[in-house]
Symmetry: C2
Subunit: 328 residues, 2 copies
């Protein structure tokens, strides 16, 4: 079964999805849809058109799954329920606190339309969440730890860019090696925010800007930096472009737990990612779940789903027989 | 919903399942079933009876899920299809080559009886398999590596014990640190069997036995040791009992892959386990899947399943709403 996919939104994530589809032999990119003037958007896939979102509603027969690559703050809360009325949809909604509300909205639209909508797909939320769920179910008596990085945080980079005198910035979230080691040893440490991660900032300052003042504004910024040990490096725009152009990320979900009423034996479960490109990996996860959405809908499923609701076999292009014979 | 569980077989694995049930508030141990004289079997759970397997057929109304803790060579191929005609069943069948045949036999019995049978549950096959499946589906362009250990291999320990002059033995499978590091770096190395693992043997020799001959018999043993760098340590029975009584195990499933037609970016996905007790952890996985078998059957599902077919949400005692709110 081949899956015909539309990509809505062509930022970093949309480009990541496009690259993933190119590697999946059972998937075909139908088109990229944008709210901009399509003539201004140049995509990587030869022979595939860029359309204005206005035409999407007329293409319901051409698209099996629409992957919605928008922002969680304002785009996805509108777009995903809206398009779930027309298509099977996938999104990477990542505002944890608003997931129940978003799920309910997508579910209402998708149930009514007889479509499947899988929300909050990616690695966090996504693969990290499902790893936590497996680990907690297996080891009910234990504790979870999540470490992020070393990787670029867009939100923190943006926060630095908003400081007067800053031209550009890149922020790396870095797990503290000693904390990681303590957790992996099974010693179940209590760790403060400061003990788990440090923050490294690479900042391009405007000519004549007061660097000491910028540094002070960064390290004391509430929510973003004040609870962390933060280092600030001033570099040139050329250095930033040359050495910090990528969007690497990753991290580890670790659960340590004991078995038996005697709690004599300790076990450590770890799921970790080391990603050269956050958007390309996230796009690859979205593409795999597009396969699941299409297949589930073909079987008659409808409504909103999350990664927790999808049996892993739906993600693979292999048949159940092949999976049992070669993957189990 | 509470799940009433029967354990069939009371070796290391059966005891591991018993300990897991004790930590799951929504599970209740109904009884332990044995082919031995029940009077000779003392179990850990107060107030729970040991029964002869003869009475199992009369207890179909008392047991929601039967967890079958037998050997894969001869027990499970008979037992799992046999009891799937009466109960929802779980097993840890681990003879990879015979999984398709075992699945077909369990499926036929369970379909006919309207029961669910989940086979090959544990960590390998089991959590390692599902980690491979997720990783391959996300990164279709890449390579898998599996490392086992440091941990005790029962099969290899048994093979040493069959050598004349050996009274007891314990064999550890040990991943080669340099190989692990090379894989984790994303360099995609080609590794021979010898480059991936070493084998450490602790052997108790009979008085007057020819130790050089025993060592030679071990390190040259085909299939088990001849393809590995193997070290042999002769120790006393007291030392073996004192220092090697546990059954630790673990390992790592690693997939490295690239994204995009340009293959510019590399990603590393790793799932790893460090287990103080192999049977207690495996028992904990079996108990979590007993929850899934019961719930699926309540919803009307029937037939054989593997870990690939089970949506992760079925493993948790939490509701779908709770999972989305707190785990995603």
């Amino acid at each position: 079964m081949s899956t015909r996919i539309g990509i809505l939104g062509y930022g970093n994530l949309g480009r990541g999805v496009e690259k993933a589809i190119a590697l999946n032999e059972d998937q075909e990119l139908v088109g990229v849809f944008t709210r901009r003037d399509p003539a201004t958007v140049k995509i990587a896939t030869e022979g595939v058109k860029v359309y204005h979102t206005d035409v999407l509603a007329s293409m319901t027969d051409d698209i099996d799954v629409l992957i919605i690559c928008g922002g969680s703050a304002t785009d996805l809360p509108e777009m995903t329920p809206g398009y779930a009325a027309l298509f099977n949809v996938i999104d990477s909604f990542d505002t944890h606190a608003r997931i129940p509300e978003h799920f309910a909205n997508v579910d209402a639209a998708a149930q009514k339309a007889g479509k499947v909508g899988i929300i909050s797909v990616g690695w966090d939320p996504g693969m990290f969440s499902v790893s936590r769920l497996y680990a907690r179910s297996i080891l009910p008596c234990g504790q979870d730890y999540t470490f992020w990085g070393r990787g670029v945080s867009q939100g923190h980079s943006d926060a630095i860019r908003r400081i007067p005198g800053v031209l550009d910035a890149r922020q790396y979230t870095v797990p503290v090696p000693e904390a990681l080691e303590a957790v992996r040893s099974g010693s179940n440490p209590e760790l403060t925010t400061r003990q788990k991660h440090t923050r490294e900032c690479y900042v391009v300052a405007a000519e004549g800007a007061d660097k000491a003042k910028i540094e002070e504004a960064i390290v004391t910024m509430p929510n973003y930096f004040s609870d962390y040990d933060t280092t600030v490096h001033f570099i040139s725009q050329e250095e930033l472009n040359r050495d910090h152009a990528g969007l690497p990320h990753g991290g580890s979900v670790i659960r340590t737990g004991t078995t038996g009423p005697d709690a004599k034996n300790t076990h450590v479960i770890e799921y970790s990612l080391k990603l050269d490109s956050n958007p390309e990996f996230t796009g690859s996860v979205l593409a795999a779940f597009a396969r699941a959405a299409h297949r589930l809908n073909q079987e008659g499923a409808k409504g909103a789903k999350t990664i927790f609701d999808i049996a892993p076999s739906y993600l693979s292009p292999l048949s159940a027989d092949e999976l049992r014979a070669h993957c189990l």
